[in-house]
Symmetry: C2
Subunit: 222 residues, 2 copies
DNA sequence: AGGACTTTGTGCAGTCCTTCACAAGCGCGT
DNA sequence: ACGCGCTTGTGAAGGACTGCACAAAGTCCT
């Protein structure tokens, strides 16, 4: 209807959301010396339907071999390229409580295309401390961040500070934010935000659990 | 996606996934003394379309008042009931590295319908330590967990341990698992698993960022 | 009291995603 | 060389979700 044929020349969001999972499984396979795999094997490892795997991967082009499967190393490269992980992206972490420290020390980040480029906190008591080889800077220093346009900002502060921090990140020129604080943040249009919220996930689990126990034998009678 | 093969006589998954966000915003409003709100206000606060808010809330029954909006307190109760948060669910945390400690100390859990009921770790060096008023138990003690069927298990271990821990949780009778480890886990059918994975979220952000910078002026060209 | 204004609840059309089912393609054994 | 079995890639059907547009229903002002 907006006939502007921006032909969605891209990969569906749902597929993009699954690519990291495939990548992870492929990494484990490669470590174990597995050379080749199939859509069925990948599907079971990730917990999705095999046809979904095939359709997802077909969006990257035809990299499988019929009758054989997918080459682990090749597929890893293809997915990495599609996700933009052929280069390293700098990440800054704001808020160095337990969560922030867990992230800063997270070996999985550097092995997955990211490098921690800065640590920031507003608390004078922690500024200057060293975490995983980096020194914690005062929050005000975020304004001088180099390569801000390339950098991903991670908010690991208490909920009350999340919006203020988000504003500062945006002001510094950051356009991609991962919000790990249990709060909703509002940002101007071009900025991309994703949320990681453990309490929400627990609540969703609670919903399913309650439903299961509340309606024990629904399948039997109409 | 949740193993529920019931006739879906319920609320759409997409709606359930948004209810925690509404609940959070309502809590902030209540604290600020706001008595009443509207679908538009809620929509802006959580970043979705107002019609979506109305349709979501209509799944819980008609609790709004036309021309006026929604009563904050009443709506809070309704959503809480739907999510099964009128009671407290026990949570056990496995793995007390930085991430596990962040969770154990997370004030947001107890205020959102959960109570930390146990801490477990396999490392003898941390067993016996006290975190947020609870003593860390050895992983083997998970087998004696009371009320396991009601309990939500949170995996906050390194990736390598995730599958083993998951097996132990299932063996102990836990049927809801939140996996915060950067690994995929496989569990038997009736167990419900959700994942929280920061590296994956960062990779998705990287994808969008790369796409934005790779195709700078698509709107202009033919 | 009545009309104007506001905001909800919802039928509907469109879009996106999933799943099925099967042809196409590849390697292997005979 | 040739068919057989295996696995991919994909058209099409079906389902789920979104966003629109509007009627229904309540409040407030005059």
């Amino acid at each position: 209807m907006p006939a502007t044929d921006l032909p969605r020349r891209g990969i569906p969001d749902a597929t993009v959301a699954r690519l990291p999972a495939y990548l992870r499984v492929l990494g484990i396979m490669a470590e174990a010396g597995v050379r080749s795999t199939s859509s069925l094997e990948l599907a079971q490892a990730v917990g999705v339907h095999p046809a979904k795997v095939r359709k997802d991967l077909s969006h990257l082009g035809s990299h499988g071999v019929r009758g054989v499967g997918y080459d682990v190393a090749h597929l890893t490269v293809e997915i990495s390229r599609e996700l933009g992980l052929t280069r390293d992206w700098p990440v800054v972490i704001v808020g160095l409580g337990n969560l922030g420290r867990a992230l800063a020390g997270h070996a999985g980040l550097s092995s997955r295309g990211f490098s921690v480029a800065g640590l920031f906190d507003a608390d004078p008591a922690v500024i200057g401390q060293s975490v995983s080889g980096l020194t914690i800077s005062p929050m005000s220093a975020i304004a001088d961040l180099p390569r801000a346009a390339d950098t991903v900002g991670v908010i690991a502060t208490p909920a009350a500070a999340a919006q203020v921090v988000a504003d500062q990140l945006v002001a510094a020129g950051i356009t991609s934010i991962l919000n790990c604080a249990p709060a909703a943040i509002v940002v101007p249009a071009p900025v991309d935000v994703r949320r990681v919220d453990i309490a929400s996930e627990l609540q969703i689990l609670a919903f399913h659990k309650q439903r299961r126990t509340a309606a024990p034998a629904l399948a039997v009678a109409p």
